[in-house]
Symmetry: C2
Amino acid sequence: MKVNGRLPINLKVVIEGEEECGSESLPVFLRERRKELDADVILVSDTAMLAPDQPSLCYALRGICYTQIEVTGPSKDLHSGHFGGAVTNPANALCAIIAALKDGDGKITVPGFYERVRAITPADRENMKALPFNEKAFIGESGSPVAAGEKGYSTLERTTVRPTLDVNGMWSGYIGEGSKTVLPSFAAAKVSMRLVPDQDAHDIFRRFEAYVKKLAPAGVTVRALDLHGAQPWITDPGHPMLEAAKRALERAWTRPPVMIREGGSIPVMAVFEETHHLPSILMGFGLDDDQVHSPNEKFSLSSFHGGTKSVAYLYEELAKSGA
Amino acid sequence: MKVNGRLPINLKVVIEGEEECGSESLPVFLRERRKELDADVILVSDTAMLAPDQPSLCYALRGICYTQIEVTGPSKDLHSGHFGGAVTNPANALCAIIAALKDGDGKITVPGFYERVRAITPADRENMKALPFNEKAFIGESGSPVAAGEKGYSTLERTTVRPTLDVNGMWSGYIGEGSKTVLPSFAAAKVSMRLVPDQDAHDIFRRFEAYVKKLAPAGVTVRALDLHGAQPWITDPGHPMLEAAKRALERAWTRPPVMIREGGSIPVMAVFEETHHLPSILMGFGLDDDQVHSPNEKFSLSSFHGGTKSVAYLYEELAKSGA
């Protein structure tokens, strides 16, 4: 606007404010406004760059199945001396259930969990190996002493093309200072699984629920809640609409972008696909050290300025390509 | 005092206000005032009755080793999509460690844990079986749907003559409403073990600490804290000093008391033994439905009045027996 006095294309802006709590309203909104929101291409800036100076286009996202396991045993908290040893402790039971969800190789044990997972081809592996991904810097940024995960896969594969299972939170009994000799009546954990094509979030939840119930020892009742889900998303990395994005990124950063897959989930992508059947450009500028979902989260100034330029060039390139 | 105008014996009263947080000060006090607090017999009223109308004298208590396991992985909370799959999740690791602390038969797997546990004799078993213990009522009072515990032992044995291991509390990551896709940097649990003669609380802590550290997977650091400990305590159920207590209870409740062992711990018993070498009478009036360490804890009026009478008669009986 500042340089040319006008935008080279028409823009429709959709702002999502609920993504971190499951995007309850957006699918309804997109379905209701399907026609008003018709377009030629969708641009989403919610992905990351492989390095601060390496523009990156994302062509696949993991989905998610976010659950809560609730284990109830005694009807009230008990004295651990008086009743300890005679009843099933729901906190111990929850730990046993969670421990049983992965085997020694880091494989998830939910029956049928990998049934629909697309195997990575030798060519995929070669492409991923060729990416300028700095594993040491990535693990360093995590603050974890070592890389660790599913046997037989690299760190980049583990975080993009392979599904995962992580405890996001758990609680039971007395969690204050010092000691209280209570045998808790209740224990719970938030457990989420990142999903990859062609896993289905609903199917995975049903399998997960059946399995954790089966793992429950005598003396406790186990309930699984489906807190939210998002389908994995993948597009053809050679899609013509992405060519405009590649040119724009190269102009802005003076180097060509790499094509990457991401480990996070953007639930609206699968919804857009369902409601609008449009090609999508995932052109994001996040960095590994952004402390995403952690204290002191930031967005880098180099990404802010480079991202602004990239998007302006993209509008020009889309106009040129006749979108 | 009201009936006879004077007490039949001399009384020294020690009030303990720190028992639920580890009795840090009392041992020091008892050592310093050893002479002033000299006596012929110690009376403690902190135990339970086998039934509301069944007076009970306790001759053994379990000890306790109360620990906190702290598992640290990444140096900060991470985005579970971006880093999930590539690093060890401390909450998953903590669950695996806790799950590994017991085997399928409910046996504690800490190496050497049972080394000093006194085996129960066939005669012990017969005595326990003869007690008017109502297992169904006991488990019913716990609010647990079934009895469950170490294989090969009865409920009464599990709660008195066998050691236990229970999670008393645990916490990690996001524990609020709904979902947050965080991979937590830290997870912790309070884990306590009830100990029986001749286990030693310090020895058990050292074994426990070494074992949980050994169980730590790559990518996390595990620390164990010794929050507090108490030695198990046992006395001769036929000790002459207990005869006065038996007579007093029979006068107050119009039926003879039973001799029982208790599952809880009274840390000061082992300290009294060390500082004063005196016989102890554990004459308590708690009931299974007292909701001990739980909301709505109560002390029954029948126990209050029956207990008051019992203690008054005990002073007379002790005076008669020349204590």
